[in-house]
Structures are given as C-alpha cells and as structure tokens.
Amino acid sequence: MAVEERIQQSLERAAEPSGTPDVRLDRVTKKFDDVVAVDDLSLEIPRGSFFALLGPSGCGKTTTLRMIGGFEEPTAGAIYLGEREVSGTPPYKRDVNTVFQSYALFPHLSIFENVAFGLRRKGTRGGILKGKVEEMLDLVQLSGYGKRKPRQLSGGQQQRVALARALVNSPRVLLLDEPLGALDLKLRKEMQLFIKRLQHDVGITFIHVTHDQEEAMTMADRIAVMNQGRIEQLGTPDELYELPQTAFVAGFLGISNLLRGTVAGPDAVRLGDGTTIRVRTGSLAGHTGDVAVGIRPEKIRPDEQDPNALPGVVRERAYIGVSTQYIVETRNGNVTVVVLNDRSGTVPHSPGDHLTLSWDPEATFVVDPMEEAE
C-alpha cells in the first residue's frame, strides 16, 4: 500500500505546474500544553532551493521540521507538500526524508542495509537495489564501506551515510536537523561545502535547520530567521545582512551597531545627544517616533568625509589579522568599528585616541528599537 502511495506521489509531483512550492505552511501553530512552540507560521519553500531555518535555541525550528516530516501534528493550520495537504498523513506516507541530528543509523544493520532500508520498503530488490545503493555510497564517497556497521565509522562518515540513506529515496524534500552539530569545526566547514555541492548535484529541495548564522549564510539560498515560534524575516543571505528588518535579525546575523533616536524629517534621525544623521532614502517609510539606526562595523570609516559623523574615543582595540576591531565610545553608546588592514604602514588608532566616525547614509538600515537590543 505504501508503495503505491509513493508512486502516486511521484506522479503527482511530475504533474504539478512549475512554480508550485515544494512545501507550504499555512498559518501553522503548534502548542505543547501551554508552550507555544510554533506561532501562526506561514512559509513557502520553492522547488529545488536550499532553505535554512535559522534561530536561537528553543525558537521552534525542530518542531517546524518535525511537522513537515510528519512526526508532530500542527495544533492549527495546514501543511502542503506540493498541492497535497498532509495533515494526518503518517511519516511513512510522506514524500519527505530526514537526516537526524543523532544520525539515527540502525546499529544492527550494515551500511549497505541502512542505505537500502527505504528502497526495500518500496519493493526495490536485486540488481537495481544494489546498483542504486552503491551509486549513492559512491556519491557520498563511501564506496567500499557497505559491509561495515555504523559504529565502525567516524562521525563524519556516519553523517554521510545518513545523507545517503535519505537521498537514495529521491524525496521531494530533504529535512536536515542540525546535521553538523556533532562534528568538530574543521569537519563542519568541510561538510557544509560538501552538502551544498550535493544539493546542487541532486537538485532536491533541502530544508536545513541550524542555530549557526555562519553555517546558514554559507549553505543556503534563502534563510528564514525564526524567533519565538515566528519568522522574523525571510530572504537571501545578503538581504538579511544588508537590510535586516528587525533589531533581532540585525543582532543575530553578524555584529551591528544600533543607535537610538527619533524621526526628524525625511531620511533624517535625531540621536539621543541631538546629532542628526541621515539614513538611506526611503528607509524611514512606515516608521514614526522612536527608531534605531543600524550600521555594520565594517561600513564605518574613521576620520573620512562621509555625510554622517559622530565623534568618539577609542576604548578597546583588537587586532584580528585581516582587520582591526575597535570599540569606540560615543555619546550615543559604544560603537564597534572594523577597519581592514589593507595598507601596510597605516598607523592604527590606539585606546584613548579621539576620532570621528563617518559613514554613508546608504549603508544604514532602520529598525524598531527593541528593549534588549544590543
């Protein structure tokens, strides 16, 4: 029965009009007793994309993924895989496969049988099965490991078996829940590139859950930043970095300086100390009263002639190699500045030095101020 179900699903997939999102969440809410894990979340994931769900611990990423996989049912709302609404459909009838954080390789089965598990459930046997499994092991660079048991493999190898075991079924969507969490830094970097290349090669939609902003930026085409069960902002990595729409997103992706002030005319904001600064044209649309003006550290140029200027005193200096990071105290709070060490002979500023921070209005963004904003 499950076999026909799956064939039916592949046919449906082929017949869908192009542009149908592979996964669509429509106002999905999930409550565990009193805890609202996912809060009225709507989301569309285009076919073939590498999509990242990024957010701090406990924001509901895993819960969202488990609802797509069929391990949890939404309290309210609907989930669509392609055009089909899947609430109440058990995991084994969904055209979705998961890579678990713990890998969850079957310890009693060989690597070959682990990878073959899904194919066997579909009724694949004999030479076709063997061919597919070996092709997949080859793809994850583990040909020749088929006879081993999972515990005889290193963490990185187990990770790749988990990928192979899921991908061999050619699912509509591959779900990855912090798949690199258990690996050390160097291996993690390697696997990030490996998985990205793999996604490119197989063309399957990947949904990748992580709390590591660098990982999300490296791997994903599109990122949804989650906070407290909601999506704060959705966009490409550079959109999120250059134009964060909330103080949370600005703080979660990289370092940003947020200066509090009030709207003082078109494209102008008066800071707490009375300095008026100019912001990017149109960025105040929809804002009145209190706002926070954001500026990334590397876009501030000390002692240059840009339109915005703010005097300050260097408090700390950290030499990082490619760049030097300064903490500059101003009357509007501390500002982090990063200066590229691209010219030899440049005399770096020292703690205690007075300087004027200057930047281009085009490099700013405006968000609502947040109480706990950094």
């Binding site: 799956r6 996989g69 084994y92 969850a104 310890p107 598990f117 899921a166 079924n169």
Partner: protein
C-alpha cells in the same frame, strides 16, 4: 638444602619476600576464598549426587555409584514434578516476557494517563515479600472459587515474572535512540514493519535475557507456588516434601543437571558475545 642454617639477613629477606608475596596476592587469595564460599555447597551437591546412601538420608559419604544418575526418576513422583515445573516455567516465562515487553514498550514510548502509577505498580511485586504475594493470591483464588492446580500456579508465576520482564526490557529500550524508530518510519516503514525491523531486533538481547530470567525464577519458586498449588507438586515442592522424610540422591542429580545446563547456557552466551565482538573489530 632447607636444613642448612640460614643467616639472619637472609632470613629477614625471606620474611620480606613472603610479606611481599602475600601483599601482591591478597586479592587472589581473597577471590579464591570468595569462590570457595560460593561454590563449595554446589560442589557438595554435585558430589552427593554420586553417593550411595544407606537408609533414607543422603548426608554422609558411603561410596561412589552411577545408579542415581541412571535411575534419575527412580523415586515416585519426581518425574511428574519435574515435568510440571518445566511446563509451568516455559509457559510462564513466554507469557510473562511477551506481556512484559509490551508493557515496557508502552511505558517507554507512549505518554498516557497513569504512566507514573503503572511504573510504580510494576515495582510493587519486586519489593513485596513472596509470602505476602502467595497468601494474597490464595485469598483471591479462594474468593473466586477457583480450582487450585496447574492454572493457579501458572497465573501466579506469570504474575511475579512480569515485573522482572518489564524491568529488564525497559532498561534496554530507555537506552536506545528514540529517533531510530522515527527514522524507520521516515524511510517508509509502517508501524508494524518498524517494530519488526528495528524495535524487535534491537531489543532482542533484552527479551532473551528476560525470558531466561523468568524461566530461572519460575522453575525454583517455592513460596508462592506452595500457597496456590492445590494438590499439584512442582519440583521445589517435591524436594521440600522429600526433605522431611529424607531427600533421595536423585534430588541432587536434578539439581546438578540444572546447574550444568545453566552454566552451559551462560558460557555459550559469553562465547557468542566474544565472537561477535571479534568480528566487529
């Protein structure tokens, strides 16, 4: 050589060496004593299964014979008591392990109302004195007007075995990754296939252990059985009855046989584990 007088210094050396020897071998000596304490009674049982007693009592060594082994069922009632005990132990351990495994699965996998209470209730038979269990069951059966015999013994044995089975299987289930079953479902296995292909193979060692444990507990149970057996006689009841009028050496024969079988099973298990470990590395 030893009769030659040893110089004082050398004698002191000898003393030091002896002390050193004792110190180094203290653990060995202790272990030997410990095992002697454990094994001596069993050795006596085995030895006296070859005794040729004069009169009713098999307490003093009279001479070696194979007769007790050759005529192991030469005492009236011993054969039927062994058959009954084996039947009860086999049935009780299978039923108790099957039920216990299901209870363990429910306790570990599903959150249901009363899970905490069930968890405590499972431990109750383990901590209740057997004499109380036996007496309460007797009262229950009497109130229900049940005919005492095979079925009452079986029910009683299943009852006290279940807890052991649950505890044994639960320990294993708690230890393994819950995501394994989700992974199986994720890969297209329905509930039954998941149980067959993942849950069962992974808990098989614990289920086997539970089976053996239940068998062992059931086959030598005396107290609970005594209350609920009616006129049926299991092997432990037979031994008890025989001991009052002088236990025949056949009792030792059966005891020895059980001991040997148990040891064989254990060794086989160890060997299998060792072979498996070697194959892995």
């Amino acid at each position: 050589m030893s009769s030659i007088a040893v110089p004082a210094r050398s004698r002191r050396n000898t003393l030091a060496t002896t002390l050193g020897f004792v110190r180094r071998h203290l653990l060995t000596a202790y272990s030997i004593l410990f095992f002697a304490y454990l094994l001596l009674p069993i050795a006596v049982v085995i030895l006296f299964s070859f005794n040729h007693p004069i009169g009713k009592f098999n307490y003093t060594w009279q001479g070696f014979t194979w007769d007790n082994w050759r005529y192991w069922d030469g005492v009236p009632g011993i054969r039927s008591s062994i058959v009954l005990s084996l039947q009860i132990a086999l049935l009780a351990s299978i039923v108790a392990t099957a039920l216990g495994t299901l209870i363990a699965l429910a306790l570990v996998r599903y959150g249901f109302r009363g899970r905490g209470t069930t968890n405590i209730l499972i431990f109750l038979p383990l901590s209740t004195p057997e004499i109380v269990l036996g007496a309460s069951l007797l009262t229950l059966f009497l109130n229900l007007n049940v005919v005492f015999g095979f079925w009452t013994i079986l029910i009683a044995h299943i009852m006290f075995c279940i807890s052991f089975a649950v505890v044994t299987v639960k320990a294993r289930l708690v230890g393994f990754d819950r995501h394994l079953e989700e992974a199986a479902m994720d890969l297209g296995a329905n509930e039954w296939t998941t149980f067959r292909k993942v849950t069962l193979p992974l808990s098989a060692p614990a289920i086997l252990a539970a089976l053996l444990l239940c068998f062992a507990i059931s086959i030598d149970d005396f107290v609970v059985t005594y209350f609920n057996s009616g006129n049926k006689v299991t092997f432990p009841l037979f031994v008890w009855g025989a001991a009052r009028i002088g236990a025949p050496p056949q009792v030792n024969v059966i005891g020895t046989a059980i001991f040997v079988i148990a040891i064989t099973v254990m060794l086989a298990n160890v060997l299998v584990q060792m072979r498996r470990a070697k194959r892995v590395s």
